[in-house]
């Protein structure tokens, strides 16, 4: 199988980027999208050209490092799937695939397809943790949490921080990511102590990092590899209003 990739090339943060189109041959449908890019880079290295830079780590959908906009969709055409898990069988033989970096003011492009997502780290530093001393680990059944609540918290905790929600949002809003983090803590007993302070501080940081406001397009939920629901955004708003009104 072979494909043409029209890929974004950009020397550095300040350089003007442009698209280059390359033909990639000797592919098999079982290859992941990243293996296709690896194949492209082998071809480029053989020709003495600079390989296309992109991020990846686990290559099994858990670290959230990989993330590309493929044919206009964050993580490509398959739903509930990261770029590293996407297979070449999802594309037609001989087709042209457009590959771009995530585009958002909060995620500046560093080189080619690599973006700086440290804004997410700063949002987490603002409150995405439990800082009260909880002593040694209690017995698992010493803190009763109803099954449905535990399930909901787990659904939110499934967020891998990939940033596809920002990439897919027409407003480049980070609401789904921040909503998932705030929700996860707000549902569990361990998160109660700092519940409202956490929401206010994380949202203040989100706003200062230059992400857009949420217009409820829900495109983030469609792009999310972990199917995080926009219900998390509704919850985040409730948490923020409660927290901020308390402090007025």
């Amino acid at each position: 199988m072979k494909v043409n990739v029209k890929v974004w090339r950009q020397e550095n943060k300040d350089a003007q980027g442009r698209f280059e189109t390359y033909e990639v041959v000797n592919l098999i449908p079982e290859m992941s999208f990243l293996e296709m890019l690896d194949t492209l880079n082998e071809q480029l290295l053989k020709r003495g050209e600079r390989p296309v830079e992109f991020d990846s780590d686990c290559r099994e959908g858990i670290c959230g490092t990989c993330g590309l906009v493929i044919d206009g969709m964050a993580h490509g055409p398959k739903r509930a799937c990261t770029t590293c898990e996407l297979r070449m069988r999802n594309f037609n033989d001989g087709s042209t695939i457009t590959v771009e970096p995530f585009r958002a003011q909060g995620f500046p492009v560093l080189r080619d397809l690599v973006v700086d997502r440290s804004a997410f780290d700063r949002i987490i530093s603002a409150g995405g943790y439990v800082s009260v001393n909880s002593g040694s680990a209690p017995d698992a059944n010493a803190i009763p949490i109803p099954k449905d609540i535990a399930e909901r918290a787990m659904d939110s905790a499934a967020c891998i921080g990939c940033g596809a929600c920002v990439a897919a949002c027409p407003n480049a809003s980070a609401s789904l990511f921040v909503g998932a983090k705030i929700t996860q803590f707000s549902l569990l007993p361990q998160g109660q102590a700092e519940r409202h302070k956490r929401a206010v501080r994380m949202i203040e940081t989100m706003d200062n990092e230059g992400f857009g406001n949420c217009s409820n397009h829900a495109e983030c939920e469609a792009a999310c590899p972990k199917n995080i629901s926009i219900d998390n955004i509704a919850r985040m708003r409730r948490e923020y209003m409660k927290g901020s009104l308390k402090a007025v």
Binding site: E100, A218, S244
Partner: protein, 239 residues
Amino acid sequence: MSVISIWNSTIGKKVVMAITGIGLMLFLVVHLAGNLLLFVPDEGQAFNQYGAALKSMGPFLYVIRGGLLAFFLFHIFAAIQVYTSKKRARSGRYAVETSKGGPSKMTVASKSMIVTGAVLLIFVPLHIYMFGMNKGAPPPMVMIDGNEIKDIYSMVATSFNQLGIVVFYVATMLFLGFHLRHGFWSALQSLGAMSPRWTPAIYTAGFVFAFLLAGGFVVLPVYFYFFIDAPVASAGGAL
């Protein structure tokens, strides 16, 4: 936290958008319900009496008008800020943009809120100038039960017998329909009133609401144009 910093936050801004949007929607429901009196086949008596009743509310009417104006202005102010924050948040454009479908609610309606809103912004002052102030002319009067009251029915009938005005109204109401198709459910989501169980039902309800409300406002001018003749004795009438 100060009220100012809540207003400056993304969440606070959307809560203001939602509350003002819901307020404006409630107004439209009441406005349409009143306008349905235009269908009563009594040469406008019921509608004119309704107008006179509104007027007799006195100072209270001004409180409502002031509130509506404030809602309108806050809504627009927040809308402009949401829009500029979006422009700032993504300067480089994607070469290709495709929706992934599924749970996405990204539609023509959701992506053109600022455009459909701007059309409403142009429409509202024109509408008030035409019907509220009869284009600056003294309004036609009519005698009902020995009282002389404003003949707003004949103002409406005169205007809606002019093709240009009918087309303009119908077109604007289509924009209103699109605004509310996304706006109805978006407002509830902005207030955090959603849960996965209710979202599909409320999203569908938003379509029904937008269709009925915009549809109601579309039917009125069309009905007058085709079925009601312009009043002959509308000296000094609208237009």
